[in-house]
Symmetry: C3
Subunit: 202 residues, 3 copies
């Protein structure tokens, strides 16, 4: 199995779980939990395909990913309550895994299609953060990517490393995945922020 | 005229009316009423076409649908006030008609293209609920499909019946349309709910 | 340089600035300011391309536009604070410029592709207001186009004038651009409103 397929599987599972967590937090019914989980799992890839001109339907061709997402959501929904006590920490953790996996997968995808580095970075950002943006909009929240501790910067970093050809072999790509995930987890754990330019309200 | 064309017309009119009602409830001006009505009428088909790889522009080719939507919105806007007193009940009713008509139309569409049953169900859910999702997002509301009494399940049921070949003739399809509409109306009238798995807030 | 290219450049710069202003008002970090600026600058064209069946990637082919947007956002972010005191007035002004420039550009685009006048008007409205709609949704606001003083009507007017062949030469198109911008600025300055049909809350 190709490295980018493994990363796709990891990202699909992680984002499906993060969507299911937020749906349960918003007290959606079981069907809403499945819908939000699936939208989060496939949203990033759908936006990326739309923007680079591929048919979105290519996402569904491998039914395995759909089944993986359904299984992950089912497990979350049936999980024992006392293990879900710390769901907020776990929700952020799975979102970080999904961000890293999909940013790298999107960047590999764009590189393989022969795009220049600017397009590789855009693909990394959109694939990594697109699912979470749709998830947050549907749940009536401001997108995490726009407000939170450092987020999309790590997707840019992934795009840059891959676009510059600094990670090619499987072991390098998995290492990059671990680093990007760790950087995002440290960002929200230690509340790292980028500069904010405030406008007073007049 | 083909059955799915009749269902398209019914769904277009019903969703245009439901969008116009919500725009008037939010006190949009006359132009906003037309925009939200048209977005609701065509949003489901647009999302479905994007996801299955058809050009969205195919939606506009039959100008008749556009004119139908414009006429429906105009009638709602000009309707005597005392008949609009119960607009909330009527808004839900037209949304139910649109859901049923478009879910069946989307399922027929996907079946005719030779898609497997899983894709037929996805097409039924997206075509049936997509317009309402965009409508609710633009109006700043949480999507009905994610929070309300049983909603998208009925689109799944429509997709299942058509995907399994259990409804083919016109009379069967119209019967299915009546049943799906009635099930949705009963869902909000009698407040039918699916199980909710709550997460405590820590 | 073609007139529609000049209008594209003006619109890209103006919408990038309006997105950056709103991101700073919402206290997004520097990365959020760039993301919202770019989404606003390219959102209208992306929606238009999706709906008329062109690949969205065509938008990125001219890297110049991307660089223009990045430069505009950087200038806004670094601008001296005392000049940003009246950002709200300036935000509305740049939004008006973007609306006029992109409505005319979208209408020219659709006319050149041989579309009928109804499609020219739809292209004008979507290209002119699409970026602002995505900007407002991501920032958690109700779209300006649906609630504010007269807005999309001016895009319809631009589409009508161009669709009817009443403006062809560069000087006519720039004149139309000035008139549309001025009409929008007068709409919010003098609070022009279209009729609203209110529904009582029961």
């Amino acid at each position: 199995m190709m490295t980018w397929e493994v990363l796709s599987m990891i990202g699909t599972v992680a984002f499906a779980i993060s969507g299911a967590f937020i749906a349960m937090e918003e007290e959606y019914d079981i069907f809403g939990v499945y819908i939000l989980g699936i939208v989060t799992a496939f949203g990033g890839g759908a936006i990326r395909n739309l923007l680079i001109g591929l048919p979105v339907s290519a996402l569904w061709e491998q039914g395995m990913f759909f089944n993986l997402a359904l299984m992950s959501i089912t497990i979350v929904f049936l999980f024992p309550g006392n293990l879900l006590k710390h769901w907020q920490r776990w929700g952020n953790f799975f979102d970080a895994i999904g961000l890293a996996a999909f940013a790298i997968q999107g960047a590999i995808y764009a590189t393989n299609m022969g795009h220049p580095i600017s397009a590789v970075i855009v693909a990394a950002v959109l694939t990594g953060s697109g699912g979470g943006i749709i998830r947050d909009l549907l749940a009536g929240r401001k997108p995490l990517v726009l407000k939170a501790e450092i987020y999309a910067v790590w997707a840019v970093l992934a795009g840059l490393v891959i676009g510059l050809g600094m990670a090619n072999k499987a072991v390098e790509l998995y290492g990059l995945f671990a680093v990007i995930t760790a950087l995002r987890v440290m960002s929200y754990t230690y509340k790292w922020h980028l500069p904010v330019r405030k406008l007073g309200v007049h």
